[in-house]
Subunit: 453 residues, 2 copies
């Protein structure tokens, strides 16, 4: 019997897909990366399916690539030759939702926004909201330690993860963490798994923290600026004033042009940047007034403050359409550097300099309150790989981010795309320790080989 | 040359103490645990001293017990026979404090409250505030992932740790984490070190997150209750109403009696519990009014709302004197269970039942907003170990906490004291993985052997 037949026989009917064309759609994430030729895709519907698959993989030494919604931007879910893809997207149960304890226990295939909506029925929310939250899964969010727009106030996915149920490569079950708000029993294995991109084990359930949802919709403004430096100064002033925005997004001229080109938003010639901010505090309107004033103080000629939910939707919609607007212009390499907040304008200017130096189109949006920038490198559709000048410009950007005390990736992860710069940031001792940890959990190196570390 | 002479020679003059009586005072924490006979105590003043000590320890296979302020409550800094104590208390530099980026880079010997005061000069604060924060060190807080009173709103020490400089057992330097608010490059080694009780490496610097300090002093109330269940219901109601208290402490009758016995606070016969709460929000007085009403709604016959900083000091002072008041009554075993918030009253009643069943005096204070309880078992001074009935009662308490979905330790750590219950909570697979991680960082098992895991 071929090894794959043993897997098909061990799992319930219909779990294993082997048609190469069908498998190919499970072998990709949202990057341009071309996958290899995986052996099969398993659509797990239960922890037992995961255990069966991993025991089989260990027995036959087959690499396993776990995946959620496939919305990743770093290639962490890209599957190579001979691998078995393990999709968790069908494990969609919200096992428990406790309003009194403000926690939920969810399976990895739950769509992020669905958990948020379920929580809101009880006056709660699930705070992490990556841009893809209508199509991303909690499992994928945990694997990449996803950020999002609200994390400037509420933290990233790791800050909402209390405990995990994990299947190890050999099929054993590991429970990490707890159901309580605090706990220090042993090493923090929960935090270790969050962001490990499926290289240490497969998460089959997570206990996550919910938070009280604000009583009213957030108050919102959008401010135009004649220079990036002024916009950056406004961000610094807003954060320093203790405004605690629940969203603080910066769009550069190239991004605004891409949006204007598509939807005709009446972009003024002198507008070089736009800042969109929200406060979900109980006195949110007053806070937005203060933020508006700080934008004016820092040179903004025009600030729009929303006076209705529809207007708010329009302002936030500008931010939401940024990526799609850029995809109209070409293939996209979406990057994700994060720098200390005070050097945000320096980083944006370094990105612009890299674009000019290498003759590359780069359009940047930033989670400005966190110093997290997404420069999007736009190149011609139809090329399998970004052309050399794009990589050269990206190299400039990464190097500059590290020089400014920043990091290669704020929230997207390392995946395959950032491995070649990894050593620059982590250094040899940390790399050796990370490889050592990997070997503890996955001694045969079967789980998502070549990713994350 | 004896091994110890080699260490004395390798370090600058005066770093190594060898007088047994002097060493003994460095071999203890704040528990009743009797240390062994350590070989020496090194008072490190620089990273180089730490490197020299650990290289020597590796060469000569000598166990090393790192320590900060010695305020631990679990025995993590208790030193055994033949060990070298490595005190970081003299590494007290705040290397950097950046108001713009809201971060500080500090050495491990910095006193927690000193960092907070330095931050407040810039309108910022260092949020974690364990009760011992006037005498505890940042290094000790990191080693135990210390909590505190404010963590109900601002999170525990791990939530403020961005990056670490660590000396490994073999003397190599490991840099973890970052200076940015977000980052997902590789596994979360920072989070792994926080709470590892010095068993993986010795922290010689930490990059920590600061936060905007509230503009005004917090608004404060204290409510009396005729039953613990009513007090627990008030806590649930306050949290469910989204009040976001910055402090929410519960004192039981036994604690109030101990305080009354000492300071004569006019305790009424029917008062079975007291709840002390604060809000540091910009509309804090309005929030405290809502919390007051929720206490009344849940049966409180009397709520005092502070009208001056002096009154606030008095109310908070009641909580602060709880531990000293108990120490007057006897030797103390301070425990630290944490349960889901909704079962806080059940846990308190289980503690009271254990006290009656085993004829033991237990007085409990709780960080009620977090479900984190400190039952203090009081027994006769002069016994080296708590008597068997105290351990039997503690065993009841731990078992009950785990049955309620809780954890053995919310913020004090495992140290030596909680090792015998550890397997009940973590299970064999997690224990095996933790031992594996330990072996990656400290293959000879020299760092704080027998602690934490």
């Amino acid at each position: 019997m071929r090894p794959l037949d043993a897997l098909v026989n061990a799992l319930p009917e219909g779990r294993v897909l082997t048609d190469p064309d069908v498998i190919d759609s499970y072998a990709r994430d949202r990057t341009f990366l071309e996958p290899g030729k995986p052996l099969a895709a398993v659509l797990a519907t239960s922890r037992d399916d995961v255990v069966t698959t991993l025991k089989w993989a260990t027995e036959h030494r087959v690499p396993v690539v776990p995946r959620g919604g496939g919305t990743g931007l770093a290639g962490a879910a890209t599957a190579g030759d001979g691998a078995v893809i393990l999709s968790l997207a069908r494990m969609t149960a919200i096992r428990e939702l406790s309003p009194a304890d403000e926690i939920a226990v969810v399976e990895p295939g739950v769509i992020t926004a669905d958990l948020d909506r379920a929580a809101r029925e009880h006056g709660l929310m699930y705070a992490p909201d990556p841009s893809s939250y209508e199509i991303s899964t909690i499992g994928g969010n945990l694997a990449t330690n996803a950020g999002g727009l609200r994390c400037v106030k509420y933290g990233v996915t790791r800050d909402s993860a209390l405990g995990l149920e994990v299947v190890l490569a050999d099929g054993r079950i590991l429970q990490t963490g707890r159901r309580t708000m605090k706990g220090v029993t042993g090493y923090d294995l929960t935090g270790l798994f969050v962001g490990s991109e499926g290289t240490l084990g497969v998460i089959t359930a997570a206990t996550v923290r919910l938070r009280r949802a604000p009583a009213a919709p957030p108050a919102t403004f959008a401010a135009e600026f004649g220079s990036l430096r002024e916009a950056g100064a406004a961000v610094s002033a807003i954060m320093a004033a203790g405004c605690q925005p629940s969203l603080m997004e910066l769009l550069d001229r190239a991004t605004l042009e891409a949006i204007d080109d598509w939807r005709n938003i009446g972009l003024e010639p002198g507008t070089m940047a736009m800042l969109i901010g929200q406060s979900d505090a109980s006195d949110g309107e007053a806070v937005v007034k203060r933020m508006e004033q700080l934008c004016v103080d820092n040179g903004s000629p025009f600030v729009a403050v929303s006076s209705s939910p529809q207007e708010t939707e329009e302002l936030i919609g500008l931010r939401r359409m940024a990526y799609d607007a850029k995809e109209r212009l070409g293939a996209c390499l979406v990057e994700d550097v994060c720098v200390p907040r005070s050097v945000l304008p320096d980083m944006i200017m370094a990105i612009e300099a890299a674009a000019v130096r290498h003759g590359v189109k780069i359009a940047t949006v930033a989670h400005a309150g966190d110093g997290n920038l997404h420069p999007v490198f736009i190149f011609e559709h139809g090329t399998a790989e970004p052309p050399p000048e794009v990589w050269a410009a990206a190299d400039d950007v990464f190097t500059h981010a590290l020089q400014l005390g920043g990091t290669l990736t704020g929230e997207h992860g390392v995946g395959l795309l950032k491995r070649r710069w990894l050593a620059l940031e982590t250094g040899p001792v940390a790399q050796e320790m990370q490889q050592g940890i990997k070997a503890v959990f996955d001694p045969l190196g079967l789980l998502n080989p070549g990713k994350a570390i």
